[in-house]
């Protein structure tokens, strides 16, 4: 049975986020040959429709409105519900991002529907779709199915491979106008705190520092390595609590959950709460002076040594590689 599935494209800094392309790939699986319709909501969004199509959407519906300058649950829900009423989809896919986590339960409640959040893999067996998602902070996984009604899903960034980009693909792009009223929450300001550049939750490479970095300046060698690798810098709670860095960088049970291709833990002891945020990373490297540190238990590769010696050496070694690609 083919299903019609819609995907909410998420715009950040005037471009679509990677997770939106991953969500299209997920929608293709749910659709089982049916139509995948991209939805773009924003102050200006139509110019990004072709990207959704290049990554696999069959067509795109765009809702532009000056009230979409900032995300609000009320504003986005009104636009999305208008599209849902028109399209009558059998599935909806969101990214498991700040926006997707905030909006998807509201839509699920409006539709009286089940929602499977934070999906890392999807199994399709004919009509049957099974979602795999981490529970207990990645200490276990569950296979979950939607038993009734429309399927709502959020997909965790960096886990479902996007389809190959194909600029030749074409599809219809339609605009809808939605009257937005009664916004009950208003965004007055957005203070950018997250470090410029690569977004931690979508980064393919993360260099993370713990108490071992000893000071705010101690993050410098980590930043240099991250720059060479095109990665992002994260931190353990210990480093945040000690005031070495902002909490926006924290990875762990409280903080961000990340699954990059490469995670390099520098001076991190490996408390269970930290492991909860990163242990599903594809390859883990640990650098720590203490050979008994817990982090070595989850590491694929370990170097016992002072991060202030080892990290600059790694930066030099990676610099020698001419082509770096992740």
């Amino acid at each position: 049975m083919a299903r019609k599935v819609i995907v909410l494209g998420e715009i950040r800094d005037k471009a679509l986020r990677n997770v939106s392309f991953e969500a299209i790939a997920a929608a293709k699986v749910l659709a089982n040959g049916g139509e995948v319709v991209g939805i773009l909501i924003g102050e200006k969004a139509a110019n990004l429709a072709s990207d959704m199509i290049a990554y696999g959407a069959d067509r795109v519906v765009v809702a532009e409105n000056e009230k979409f300058k900032h995300y609000t649950p009320d504003g986005y829900a009104q636009a999305l519900m208008a599209v849902i009423e028109e399209e009558k989809p059998e599935g909806i896919v969101f990214g498991h991002t700040s926006l997707g986590k905030d909006l998807s339960p509201k839509i699920a409640a409006k539709l009286n529907a089940g929602l499977v959040s934070d999906v890392t893999a999807i199994e399709a067996d004919g009509d049957n779709i099974t979602f795999i998602r981490p529970i207990y902070s990645g200490k276990a996984f569950e296979k979950r199915v939607v038993t009734e009604g429309i399927m709502l899903v959020t997909v965790r960034p960096n886990n479902i491979a996007p389809l190959e980009k194909n600029e030749e693909r074409t599809g219809k792009v339609a605009s809808i106008s939605v009257e937005i009223k009664d916004l009950r929450t208003i965004v007055k300001d957005v203070v950018r705190k997250a470090s410029e550049g690569v977004d931690l939750s979508e980064a393919k490479v993360i260099i993370a520092g713990g108490r071992g970095v000893k000071s705010a300046e101690g993050f410098k060698p980590l930043q240099e390595l991250a720059e060479v690798l095109g990665g992002a810098v994260g931190a353990s709670r210990g480093a945040c609590d000690a005031g070495y860095c902002d909490y926006s960088m924290q990875i762990g049970q409280t903080g961000k959950v990340v699954t990059p291709d490469l995670y390099i833990a520098c001076g991190i002891s490996g408390a269970i709460q930290h492991l909860a945020g990163m242990s599903n990373s594809k390859v883990i490297v640990a650098i720590n002076k203490d050979p008994e540190a817990n982090i070595f238990k989850v590491a694929d590769y370990g170097i016992v040594g002072d991060l202030f010696d080892v990290v600059p050496m790694l930066t030099e070694e990676f610099k020698k590689l001419k082509v770096l690609s992740f």
Binding site: S98, P105, Y136, K188, V191, R192, S248, A299, I303, F318
Partner: protein, 257 residues
């Protein structure tokens, strides 16, 4: 100010997950209040101490939840409500929980409802926003600062590291993110007092709900543990050689660059 806090009982963060016949072993495990819900409780108590009113802690769970509700009372909540589902609901999902909680909350006219941003066991973060939507009130998730002035509310929320400054008004539901406050430990007098504070126990019947009304929309087919990681390779030799070897291993063996 009439304040409600939604709390969940979860596995202690330190607990190992052990599966027996595909089911997570609960016997002998330590349980705690979901850490994000502790921020919600702390915030509720601080607001009440400043502005007056009452804090009610509400849990949809099973009879064991009394322990965590008593902890919330010991921290300073005024009263607690335990909605016991074990007799009627076998495998509820987030829809089930939200339906039960919103049915209980309907008509209670709380000015402010607080919950955790996410529970560390199920990890979906759905219940707060679902409850708000079912009650027809607005919500703000992942908040790190809350200021209430009359009916006006000013909020800071965490958006993947950035801070969004939001204005809203009561009634409102918010979910707590780390950084909102530093939850207190229950004091000894607090623990003594908590024993005498009211803790109401309800079942679906008391909410005029039937099993069919809360039938989940999703179902778990299987729970499994992640594949056991093979012991990693600890490199040896001069540090400089180790750095070289690591880069080459990442390239040849791990195939990631």
């Amino acid at each position: 100010m009439n304040i409600c806090v939604l709390i969940k009982r979860t596995f202690d963060t330190e607990e190992k997950i052990i599966l027996t016949d595909g089911i997570i072993q609960e016997e002998g495990a330590e349980f705690i209040i979901n850490p994000y819900d502790e921020y919600a409780i702390e915030e509720a108590i601080q607001i009440r101490d400043e502005q007056g009113g009452e804090v009610t802690a509400v849990m949809a769970g099973n009879e064991d939840g009394e322990k965590e509700l008593r902890t919330a009372l010991a921290m300073g909540a005024d009263k607690a409500v335990l909605i016991k589902l074990e007799e009627d609901v076998e495998d509820g999902d987030q829809w089930t929980t939200a339906k039960v909680l919103s049915t209980y909350l309907e008509g209670k006219n709380y000015d402010l409802i607080l919950a955790g941003n996410v529970a560390i066991d199920g990890g979906s973060g759905q219940v707060g926003p679902r409850v708000a939507e079912l009650l027809g009130i607005p919500y703000v998730t992942a908040i790190t600062k809350l200021e209430i002035d009359g009916r006006k509310v000013k909020i800071e929320r965490d958006v993947e590291g950035d801070v969004e400054v939001i204005e809203a008004s009561l009634p409102l539901l918010v979910t707590a993110q780390q950084g909102l406050n530093e939850p207190r430990y229950p004091s000894l007098p607090g623990i003594m007092k908590a024993k005498r504070k009211p803790l109401e126990q309800l079942e679906l019947d008391d909410l005029d709900l039937e099993e069919d009304d809360v039938e989940p929309k999703t179902k778990v087919l299987e729970i499994f543990l992640p594949p056991k990681k093979e012991a990693g390779k600890i490199l040896k030799g001069e540090l400089e050689d180790q750095a070289k070897e690591l880069v080459s291993l990442l390239r040849s063996e791990a195939n990631i660059i």
